[in-house]
Symmetry: C2
Subunit: 479 residues, 2 copies
Amino acid sequence: MAKEKKLVEEITSMDVDFAQWYTDVVKKAELTDYTSVKGCMVIKPAGYAIWENIQKELDRRFKETGVENVYLPMLIPESLLQKEKDHVEGFAPEVAWVTYGGLEPLQERMCIRPTSETLFCDFYSKEIQSYRDLPKVYNQWCSVMRWEKTTRPFLRSREFLWQEGHTAHATAEEAEARTQQMLNVYADFCEEVLAMPVIRGRKTDKEKFAGAEATYTIEALMHDGKALQSGTSHNFGDGFAKAFGIQYTAKDNTLQYVHQTSWGMTTRLIGAIIMVHGDNSGLVLPPRIAPTQVMVIPIAQHKEGVLDKAYELKSALLDAGFKVKVDDSDKSPGWKFSEQEMKGIPVRIEIGPKDIEANQAVIVRRDTREKIVVALPELAEKVGEVLTTMQSDMLERARKHRDSHTYDATTYEEFVKTINEKPGFVRAMWCGDQACEDKIKEDTTATSRCMPFKQDHIADTCVCCGKPAKALVYWGKAY
Amino acid sequence: MAKEKKLVEEITSMDVDFAQWYTDVVKKAELTDYTSVKGCMVIKPAGYAIWENIQKELDRRFKETGVENVYLPMLIPESLLQKEKDHVEGFAPEVAWVTYGGLEPLQERMCIRPTSETLFCDFYSKEIQSYRDLPKVYNQWCSVMRWEKTTRPFLRSREFLWQEGHTAHATAEEAEARTQQMLNVYADFCEEVLAMPVIRGRKTDKEKFAGAEATYTIEALMHDGKALQSGTSHNFGDGFAKAFGIQYTAKDNTLQYVHQTSWGMTTRLIGAIIMVHGDNSGLVLPPRIAPTQVMVIPIAQHKEGVLDKAYELKSALLDAGFKVKVDDSDKSPGWKFSEQEMKGIPVRIEIGPKDIEANQAVIVRRDTREKIVVALPELAEKVGEVLTTMQSDMLERARKHRDSHTYDATTYEEFVKTINEKPGFVRAMWCGDQACEDKIKEDTTATSRCMPFKQDHIADTCVCCGKPAKALVYWGKAY
C-alpha cells in the first residue's frame, strides 16, 4: 500500500501550507503545466475540459438573454488604447507591446489586448447610426494578456482565457439593467453549476474598473478564508461613447450618445473551484462541471468477467446520460482510487468478482467518501441521485463555510483584530471616503470587496473614522 | 419595388468581377467588418455563428478519434522558434514581435504564434518520458498571426482563427496513420457538412509545410475556377523530436524519438463556403452549417392573425429541431426576401392572410428558388425534406461544377493554353522535379495543388520537361 499512497502523500496538507497545497493539486490533478514562456501556463486536457464545460454553460445562459458572439482583433493600436483617459492609465503599465511585423518596425506600436473596450468602441462607432441599430449585445471568447509580475496558475497569469461581453444601449436605464442582469447570470451560474455561493454587490470607486461608472462584482470565499473576485460587470455610462464618438439618431431625430456595459469571467474560476471544494486528497469537482462524473474501477480485473462487467456498467451509465470512464490500466485498485480522488471525479464505482456474484456494485462519493452498496439494476438511478445530492451538499457546505467565516465588526479595534486573526469576510459600515479604505489596506492588507446588494445596517458610523456610515461593506484579504 | 431591390443591386455580379462580388457578399451578408487594425477583421455575429457551427462539428469528430483539447501560450520566445531550422525559415519573416512587457524591454523578444509546433514540442519534451505516455493527441482552438502584406476577409488576414492538432506517437507508422486519418476527417466534414467536394492528396516538396516530411491537403474548387487549400495535415517524422529532444523509453528499454503530426483548419473555410455556393443574390449556406435554417416571413403582417401564425409556425419548427427565426421587422416583405437571400438562409416560409385561409404556407428554397406550397400540418416534415434535399443538391452541384472544370493535359502547349483560358484544375503528369513546378508557375502563375491519392496514369511523360512521369498532379491558380 505504500506505493499506492504515493500520489496522496506528495500533496502538502492544506492546513499546513494552503498555497503549496494549491500548487500541488494543480500539478497532480494534471490541470496545468509550466512553460518556457514566463508567467504563462499550458492548460492540460483535464483543466481545459473544465473550461469547456464552463464555456458551454455560460454561453447557453448568455444566448438565452440575447447575446451574440463575435471576434475582434487581438491587437490594439496605441492611439486607440489612449482614447479614454482612465482606461489607458489603468492598463498601459501592464500590456505587452508589438513593435515589429515581420522584418519591419511598425509605424505605430500595438499592444496585445488586456481587454477590448477600445476595440469594441471603435467597432460600434462605425456600426451604430440609428436607434434601430440598438441594442448591441456582443460577446467574445478569447485570450488576453496582462504583464503581471508574480503569477500563479489560473489565479494570475500573464495570458488567460475569458469571455468579454460588450454592449451598447439607447438609454442609461437599459445599460444599468443589462449590467445587473449579467452579474446575476454569473452569480446563478456559480451557485447552480459550480456549487459556489457568492456575495453580489457593487465595488467602491477605488476598486472599480478603469473607465467604469459602476462595477458590480461577485465575491466568493476560498477555503483558506481569502476572498476571490469571481466575475465583474461594468456600467460605463456614456464615458466611452463620448471618447469614441458613438452616437445614434434617436426616434425624435436628436443625436444621442449610447450607454455601454462590459462584463467578464475568466479561467480564474477554475482556481476558485479548486480552493472552494478541494481537500487533502486533491480536487473535488461539482458533478455539474466535472468532465468525467463517474470512474468505474474494476477490482481484480484479471479475473474472468470483471472487465467485461465494468464496460457493461460504463455503457449503461453512458446511455443514462452520465459522463463515465473505466480505469482499465494495469495499476492497482488503490492507486486508481488515489488518482480518481486527486482528479476530483465526483463518484467512483468499485466492481469486483464478489460484487458480480452478488449482482451489486459499490458507489463511493468523492466529497464524503460515503460508500453505497447498490443492486446493479438500480445503479443508474442511484448514481443520478448521488450526483444530485452531492451537487447540492457541496453548495450547502461551501455556504456554511462562508457564513461561519463571516464576521461583523463595529469598532476599528474589533475590525483589525478580526480581519487579522480570523480568516474570512468582515462586514463593517463605511463612510464612503477612500481615505478609510486606504487606511484599512495599510493597516491590515484587507480591501473592500463590495457593498452588497443586500444592505444591512449594523451600525451608524464608519468602522474606521467614526463619521456617519453610508454603506455596509464586505472586507477581506483577497487573491 | 425599386427600394426593395436595393440590397441586391448593390452587389457586383460575380460574372463581372468575382473578387468584388466576394467583397460585397462578405459585407452585405454582415459576416465581417474592417477595423482600425490593418489586415485584421471583425467577425460579426452572422460570420461568427458559422464558425461556431464549424467548431462544434469538427470538435465532435475530433473527439470521436480520441483528440483532447488543451491551450498553450500565444507567445513564442525567439530561441524556441529557432530550434527547428526549416520551420524558422518558413515563419520568421512573417511574425509579429513583442519587445516590451509593460514599461520594460524584454530580455528576449517573443513572437505571437504563427502556428504552435515549437510550443507543443517544448511541452511534449517535458511530458513524454515513457511509451506509456504515448500517444499524445492534443488540439487547440485559438487565433494565430502572420504578418501578411495583402489581406482579404477570411481568405488571408493577419490574424485568423483556427484549430491546430499536434500529436506525438511511438512509431512512424502510427504518425502516418494519424496524418491521413485527420485529412480524411477534414475531407468528410467538407463534403458532408459544407457540401464542398475536395480532392485529397499530397503536396509536392515545394509546397509542403515548413519542417514537415509530408503534407497532405484537401483542395476545393471555387466558383471562379480558382483552387482553395482547405485543410492540411502534416507528418513531421522525427525531425522536430530530434531538434527538441523529445524521447521516450520504449518497452524494450531503448531510448527512442517520437514521431509527430500536426493538422489545421481555419476561418478560411467560411471564404470557401461563400465562393463555392454563393450566387448573385448573395450567400447560400448549406443547411447543415447555417446558423438560421428557416426564416419565416409574414406577408401583410399588420393584418389580424398573421404575426401570431408566423410565431406559431416558428415554434412548431423549433420543436421539430430546426433553427428558425421570424422576420417581424417593419420592412416590406420584398426587402425581407432580399435580406434572407443575401444572408444565405437556406429556406424561407411565406405566410399571409390567403395562406392562413387556405391552411397552407409557401416554402422557398434559397438555392433553386423553387416554391413549394404545403399544407400547414405537413410543414415541419416538408421543411425537413427540403433541407435534406438542398444539402445533397448543393454538394452534387458543386461536384458537377468542379468536374466540368477539371481538364487533362498531356502536352505543355495544351497545359498552358488550358490553364490560362479555362478556369479550373488541370490534371497533368509530373516528373517529380521542382524545376518543372518553378517553370509552370513562372509561365502561368499556376501551382501544383496536390498529387491526388487516387492516381490516374494519363501519360508516360512529364507535361513540362518530357522526362518519365512519376505522378499525376492537380494544377491550378489558387487563393
